[in-house]
Symmetry: C2
């Protein structure tokens, strides 16, 4: 209310205090120190979790997620974000920092918000680098070859859980149509980051299954964004505006097709440019600029930045600089990608799993239903494929599509903030997202068990 | 005034608006996009400037600084920081972003402040990585061997410009003692980042001259921090508290000696640890955590974080993982270090060089005097060295100590904000810092001209 009043009265000095705190040299130093402390926590969590998981034959990325849960909101609270509802006083490291620095109390909310935002931006840059690297490691021709299969997997994997989830919520749980449609929509989009990372760790990225999963996950991501636009406008206005949806479909198709054609046409220019440059890091920096620009264009047409970075990686892999680029992007990915997975884990609030709270009990029952639909709705996708010339691991394809990750959380976040989802339905969606995200890595390893790998693990 | 009132009344909701803006998903996306746009500008500026400078036989780092000036506060205003007094409405890219996103006006100051802070933190991480890499490329035994020479160069290089500057300002310019002492103190500390980068680019880092310069610059940095503590307390209270100075001297000596002894003792532990790890990027990530922790300890004893990172690089270079680490840190440095130099350039306000403003005219005359003292006071340091077994390029050693860079700007900032320095004296100090920073790279190349290099340029 005060916030509304102050913005209605248009008081610029109200913003000034926080901004002056951000800008003062002492606070800047504290922000830097708090970010560095945050990064130490991130790396300890990622390596501790990753190494433990490797030793019990689980994918390291699961360890990074679990390490994030350990240091995050749910357990140790070393790495906490304001979106969890926490204040600066809840963060152990910031209290410590305030005590040794003697910073005034009224600085701490600003330092907390800024530190969280810096680490969030670093984690976003991390997932952009991850998709750029996955693009570099993928093969465009292979991906186009499996294009039809990937499209079938994607469409089935969106339609099946959406229909089963929505109808189940309406008829089994007697939930009203709009919230049921919204929760059903949250079941659609696969989190490409987690699946791609696990495939890469298993050495399966360039297997036919791996390429189908990646291709389907990309199409899925686009379908998910369209579904989100549809259900959001349905929830807001009670009706669907077809023009918006047509624009989204046209722009995303144009983006992907355009990226491939324009990218291939620009490839000789890229090689000539970096070959003529004489300063350090010319290949990596120019490629990154291209990836960032493509990410910005993707964001501009309302897709995700990671799709642009993936497309640039895919295209640059075809140039004679591709191998050099793969080598150089590795250390960058080693440093930035763990930030993304640890932050995803740290932001996960496991308190929704606590059955002592009655809202959670209702939520857990709904979650059980949503989880079954989420898993089965994707697992069947592989078995929809017919007429493959090579024998495919159909189970692995379906399992690879299971994790909902951050995309599912976006649905939950939009649903909760707009009041469409009831508390228990929201808790159910969050539990479903948590379970699919954490179950997929070990399940995918199981699905591939016993088969020889087709590629070496990158960086091993 | 309003700001003072609001904090005196202790209204937490006043901070809440800005913090809620930072936390909203739409604003978070805008912050990410603005950071990505900022990074594109940084890389274009660094590569454009760097490549042009290489072609006219100047060090690339000068090009990065000049590229930063071009895109920064002084010229194109694509990359502007609130510390320059600019508001969000002065930043071309943010105006563009607001137009295409339709973000409300009251969001823009927060987005501007947060974007600037994220890029500033990235540039600080960049200079930490730079000093870590410089440490890896340096040789601890060589550095200890030239220790006495480095100490002589450092002490002479602090004492001579401090004495000549202070006395000159008092007797030639009739400036009061305390501001004269303050401006004299701003002449003392060498910017290790710029010099080390130029030495590395010239392939001179491991020459005897290079190691003396690096050693002297480190001691210089510590002396500079002590001088700053002394003159700040002198300016604030009119007297000097010897206990503080003793604590600073003891803690900084203990830090450097302790880092070397404890570091060497921990080296086998580091090698064992990373050898037993099985996840990606284990060497680089563990080394970075060590560098960050040492940087935090350095910050805690009131030194700079870069000294800790340098010490860790120096020590880890001695392990069997040193070569692997050097290879892996290169791409990371290629991506992060340019942010630092471009930001230094972008923050440089060339308007103090405009003689149309009367304050600047007085400042330019003082600047001329300070510049002569700043250059000569450091150039003589090499010639203070006697009895070297090998012939040394004494001119190059002195020239290597010339750039004042960010350390000098800290003096100017503290002096101006505490009201000690008059406007013209402040302008004079800033011009001196700009000139020494931009003159040093080409002068150092000149001083080394005609001699064969002793090492290959890293990354070439």
């Amino acid at each position: 209310m005060l916030q509304f009043l102050s913005s209605a009265l248009g008081w610029p000095p109200i913003l000034a205090e926080t901004i002056e705190i951000i800008e003062s040299p002492e606070a800047s130093t504290l922000i830097l120190v708090s970010v560095l402390l945050g990064l130490v926590v991130v790396y300890l969590a990622s390596k501790l979790g990753g190494e433990l998981c490797v030793r019990v034959n689980l994918p390291p990325v699961l360890g990074e997620l679990l390490g994030g849960v350990l240091v995050g909101t749910s357990v140790l609270r070393l790495l906490v974000f304001p979106s969890s509802g926490a204040g600066a006083e809840d963060v152990v490291l910031l209290n410590f920092l305030q005590q040794i620095s003697g910073a005034p109390d009224n600085w701490m909310p600003t330092i907390f918000a800024t530190q969280s935002e810096v680490i969030s931006v670093l984690s976003e840059i991390g997932v952009i680098i991850l998709l750029f690297e996955i693009g570099l490691e993928s093969n465009l021709d292979e991906l186009l070859k499996v294009g039809t299969k990937a499209a079938i997997v994607a469409v089935v994997g969106v339609a099946a859980p959406f229909a089963a989830g929505t109808l189940g919520l309406i008829y089994l749980f007697h939930i009203a149509t709009i919230p049921a449609v919204f929760a059903g929509a949250a079941l659609t989009a696969t989190s490409i980051g987690i699946t791609a990372k696990v495939l890469s760790e298993l050495g399966r990225l360039n297997s036919p299954e791996g390429q189908i999963i990646i291709g389907a996950a990309i199409i899925d991501d686009i379908l998910g964004i369209i579904v989100l636009a549809v259900v959001s406008s349905l929830a807001k206005t009670g009706e669907i505006r077809p023009s918006n949806i047509v624009i989204l479909i046209v722009s995303s198709t144009a983006f992907l097709v355009g990226a491939i054609f324009i990218g291939r046409w620009l490839n000789p220019f890229f090689v000539n440019l970096v070959s003529s440059m004489q300063t350090r890091g010319e290949v990596l920096v120019v490629a990154l600029v291209a990836a960032i620009l493509a990410g910005l264009i993707a964001q501009f047409v309302r897709l995700e930045a990671i799709l642009g970075a993936f497309a640039v990686g895919l295209i640059l892999a075809e140039t004679e600089k591709g191998e050099e680029l793969k080598e150089q992007v590795k250390p960058l990915a080693d440093v930035l990608v763990p930030i993304f997975f640890v932050v995803v884990g740290a932001k996960t609030d496991l308190s929704v799993l606590n059955p002592a709270d009655p809202v959670n009990r209702a939520g857990l029952i709904i979650a059980g239903f949503l989880l079954v639909v989420a898993v089965l709705g994707k697992v069947i996708t592989g078995f929809r494929l017919v007429g493959s010339s090579t024998p495919l691991n159909r189970l692995a394809i379906g399992v690879g599509m299971i994790p909902r990750g951050e995309v599912g959380l976006v649905f939950a976040g939009v649903g909760a903030s707009s009041g469409i989802l009831s508390e228990s339905l929201n808790a159910g969606v969050i539990v479903m997202v948590i379970m699919t995200t954490f179950l997929a890595p070990p399940l995918l390893r199981l699905a591939f068990r016993g088969e020889p790998t087709t590629a070496v693990e990158p960086g091993s």
